[in-house]
């Protein structure tokens, strides 16, 4: 009989106008890897915050064995052995690895850096990872930072380790390392609560998986006894097949050609893309895909290389030039680069056009309102009004606002950088539909994505990058996930 280490019972948490957690009960066993699955807004993160003591539930009980609490604070949670690794790491960047590992531990009045380093070294040794305890955290890669976070939890003798989307910033091989480490922790009896969007991962490592939807507990399943389809159905509460709609257009003339582009770590990258085509760009995080997009768009400086748009060589040194030549970018970091969160939906949609459409500096407010209305309807953007601040919209709707802004500027070569990241399954489908609709209208799409499935599903052709180098081009007939992953990890 497995021992239950943590139980949450009948947790209710409401925010003004929203029930974030609605009568949620889950039990976690000692030494299991327990995955939490659900769309954005399903309540996973809120539940984690209840467990870590970051927020107080309105009702319900949190029980660590026999100790029951109606509310926690971070200190009590920690005393009970809970350690949380959030997506945004909570490390002090300016301090050393060793200092971070033992941050918050009583050190006495005088700190012995040497002793700290030795102890940190031992923790890393036990984890079989190679990190210099005296290195400054700022200089570490995201993967190493995460390892430092894990080491921190280990040094605190954490009994329950909560990991929020831990694989998001990692490359494929780094994910393997992480899996190895959490496997070892599990063997030592640590309970791991693993939150992820990536269903494949859950099958790799988890023992059980709890599905949440709309702030409610749906079910807890033994991972071995379920399958991807069942999990997706439980997540969305209905039968749903991701599918990529029919194309009605055959790619024709080359509209964009880049020749030997170098800069920001990218070396000599050349490719071309046709009208009506979706060109996928595959590669691991750090392979230089986003940099390539930004160079083409003129958002970041290049060292050398040429860009030809519709057969004419163009010098694109700033985004306004790119837009002028019909190139649009839907950036990876939607909230910080794609829109002005505190401004209205209408203002955001007008962002790329109000200068051009102004007459003697007077903006065409009426025209922009009409444009915004048009896209609201066309893209089915769910917002109470045009004056709503974009920050109050959901991720999928924010993305549609960003897309509307880009299209309003009459762009016909669209670079989508991770267009579906952090967007729930239903909105993802809408984004795919929109993309296909756009190419059917004769637009051209370059799509960067880390999700192999959508990349293979929607693209006509792929190019693969690895560490800033062009690894090859893959035509649709040769689409094969394993082959692409091999190229992306630098193997020929």
């Amino acid at each position: 009989m497995p021992e239950t280490i943590l139980t949450v019972r009948n947790i209710i948490k409401t925010y003004p106008g929203v029930v974030a957690l609605n009568d949620v009960s889950v039990a976690f066993e000692k030494g299991e890897i327990h995955a939490m699955l659900g769309e954005n807004g399903a309540g996973k993160s809120t539940l984690i915050k209840v467990i870590s003591g970051a927020i107080e539930p309105d009702q319900g009980v949190i029980a660590f064995g026999a100790r029951e609490y109606h509310k926690l604070n971070p200190a009590i949670s920690r005393e009970n052995g809970v350690a949380v690794i959030y997506q945004e790491f909570s490390l002090v960047e300016s301090m050393s690895v060793a200092q971070n590992v033992f941050l918050g531990e009583e050190q006495g009045f005088l700190v012995s850096h040497k002793a700290l380093k030795l102890r940190a070294g031992k923790v890393f040794e036990a984890m079989h990872v190679d990190i210099d305890p005296s290195a400054q955290v700022r200089k570490l890669s995201p993967a190493k930072k995460q390892l430092v976070e894990i080491a921190k939890a280990v040094s605190q003798n954490a009994k329950i380790l909560v990991m929020d989307e831990p694989s998001a910033p990692l490359s494929a091989s780094e994910v393997e390392t992480m899996f190895g480490i959490i496997g070892k922790l599990k063997d030592q009896g640590v309970t791991i609560i693993y939150i992820s969007h990536r269903i494949e991962e859950l099958f790799r490592i988890s023992d059980r998986v709890t599905v949440m939807r709309d702030g409610r507990y749906v079910d807890t399943l033994i991972t071995k006894k379920t399958n991807r389809k069942e999990l997706i159905n439980l997540m969305v509460g209905r039968e749903l097949k991701e599918y990529y709609p029919q194309r009605t257009i055959i790619p024709s003339d080359v509209v964009l050609e880049v020749k030997q582009i170098s800069g920001l770590g990218d070396k000599d990258i050349s490719f071309s893309v046709r009208k009506g085509e979706i060109l996928g760009v595959a590669g691991l995080v750090g392979s230089g895909r986003t940099e390539l997009a930004n160079i083409i768009y003129g958002a970041m400086p290049k060292e050398s290389g040429e860009t030809w748009v519709e057969g004419i060589k163009r010098d694109i040194q700033s985004p306004d030039k790119a837009i002028e030549y019909g190139i649009g970018l839907i950036p990876e970091d939607r909230k910080h680069h794609g829109c002005i969160l505190n401004a209205s939906v209408q203002f955001n949609i007008a962002l790329s056009t109000f200068n051009k459409n102004a007459k003697f500096f007077v903006v065409d407010a009426k025209g922009h309102k009409e444009t915004a209305r048009y896209y609201l309807e066309k893209f089915n953007i769910r917002t109470p009004s045009l004056d709503q601040r974009v920050t109050n919209l959901s991720g999928g709707n924010q993305q549609k606002v960003v897309l509307a802004k880009t299209l309003a500027a009459n762009t016909n070569i669209l670079i989508f950088d991770e267009p579906t990241r952090g967007i729930d399954v239903g909105s993802k489908q809408e984004i795919y539909n929109l993309m296909v609709e756009l190419v059917n209208q004769g637009k051209t799409i370059i799509m960067i994505s880390s999700e192999m499935e959508e990349l293979l599903g929607i693209s006509d052709r792929l190019i693969v990058l690895s560490e800033g180098k062009f690894m090859g081009e893959v035509p649709k007939e040769k689409f094969d996930q394993r082959y692409v992953i091999e190229l992306a990890s630098g193997h020929h």
């Binding site: 401004a343 500096f361 109050n392 991720g395």
Partner: protein, 334 residues
């Protein structure tokens, strides 16, 4: 969609606009009880005419602030522009229009100087403008040789004395500036560029807005309005020296923040800003009539600035929290 509609509408901007007006009215009522002299035409006229230049100055500053920056050098800009303009009239006997033109040109250049530095060395504008402020201070004393200049030509004095329809020219000028600034923010592409810059510089740049040029321009526009404010100030005083101006930056800054110009950029309205100036003015005037000393007023002003910044920050946090609540729930369901 249904859930979205049920959400409380978060529109603190509008609330704030009315709060500022409300506070102004409350203050006036309070002070009218404490002193019978407060609610006289003469006193109210005084309050208005003594503050016209603060309004113009705060409007100049608002361009920088709404654009997401700050300019603490406007006080010493006024000092330098003031002594130069005065010397052009009193020492070099240039025609008034030319002296004023030189003064305004100088102010604009000082603003441009700030803008170029802020955009080229990427340091906090707070620090940059404290530094340039010290430079302007030195220049002002070198130019004026610590002299006081008075006895301006009658034409120049007309700016503060002359009347049209019973109202002095500087009040008309201020109304004009307020209307102009409102028009610029609501109706012109330039105003929208400034709002976009302050709202999110990188998103604005990626949307094709020439953020660097706009950033330089807001400091330049600020310098231009600062120079105009200087003209009103020295015309009203009929004298100037290098001590005229410094300190105004804090009054203008406080008024702007009290009036709802966000310290973080991206929002604000001109009417709120005017109300902000008058809240400070009414407080000062009321406290004076109530017999509080100047020093006590400094304390109150400082506390108001702190209070306004706290309120601004509180609103942002409240909005972030509300935002968290909305994104933490399923709005995206069909």
């Amino acid at each position: 969609m249904d859930k979205m509609k049920k959400l409380p509408k978060i529109n603190l901007g509008g609330l704030k606009k009315y709060t500022v007006m409300f506070i102004l009215v409350i203050l006036m009522v309070l002070f009218s009880f404490s002193s019978p002299y407060f609610l006289t035409v003469r006193n109210l006229t005084n309050i208005i005419t003594q503050n016209t230049y603060f309004i113009i100055l705060a409007i100049g500053l608002s361009f920088v602030m709404i654009g997401g920056g700050i300019d603490l050098s406007v006080g010493w800009q006024m000092s330098l522009v003031g002594v130069v303009t005065a010397m052009m009239m009193v020492v070099y006997h240039l025609p008034v229009w030319l002296a004023v033109l030189i003064g305004i040109l100088l102010g604009t250049l000082l603003g441009l100087f700030n803008g170029l530095i802020v955009t080229n060395i990427k340091v906090f504008p707070l620090i940059v403008t404290i530094a340039t402020s010290t430079v302007f201070q030195g220049l002002s004393y070198i130019v004026s040789k610590a002299n006081t200049f008075r006895g301006y030509p009658e034409e120049f004095l007309q700016l503060a004395k002359g009347k049209f329809l019973g109202v002095t020219f500087d009040v008309w000028l201020t109304i004009l500036v307020v209307l102009l600034a409102s028009f610029v923010y609501y109706k012109t592409s330039y105003g929208w560029n400034v709002l976009a810059l302050g709202g999110n510089e990188e998103a604005a740049r990626l949307a094709g807005i020439k953020t660097k040029a706009i950033k330089i321009s807001v400091y330049t526009v600020c310098g231009f309005f600062t120079a105009i404010a200087t003209m009103v100030m020295i015309s009203k005083a009929n004298t100037t020296n290098s001590m005229f101006g410094p300190g105004s930056e804090f009054t203008a800054l406080t008024a702007a923040i009290v009036g709802g110009i966000s310290f973080m950029g991206g929002e604000g309205n001109m009417l709120g800003l005017v109300a902000g100036v008058f809240i400070l003015a009414v407080l000062g005037n009321g406290m004076q009539l109530a017999g509080w000393g100047t020093y006590a007023q400094y304390i109150v002003k400082g506390l108001i600035l702190l209070g306004a910044v706290t309120f601004d920050e509180y609103q942002k946090t409240a909005r972030r929290k509300a935002h968290k609540a909305t994104t933490d729930q399923p709005t995206d369901k069909h």
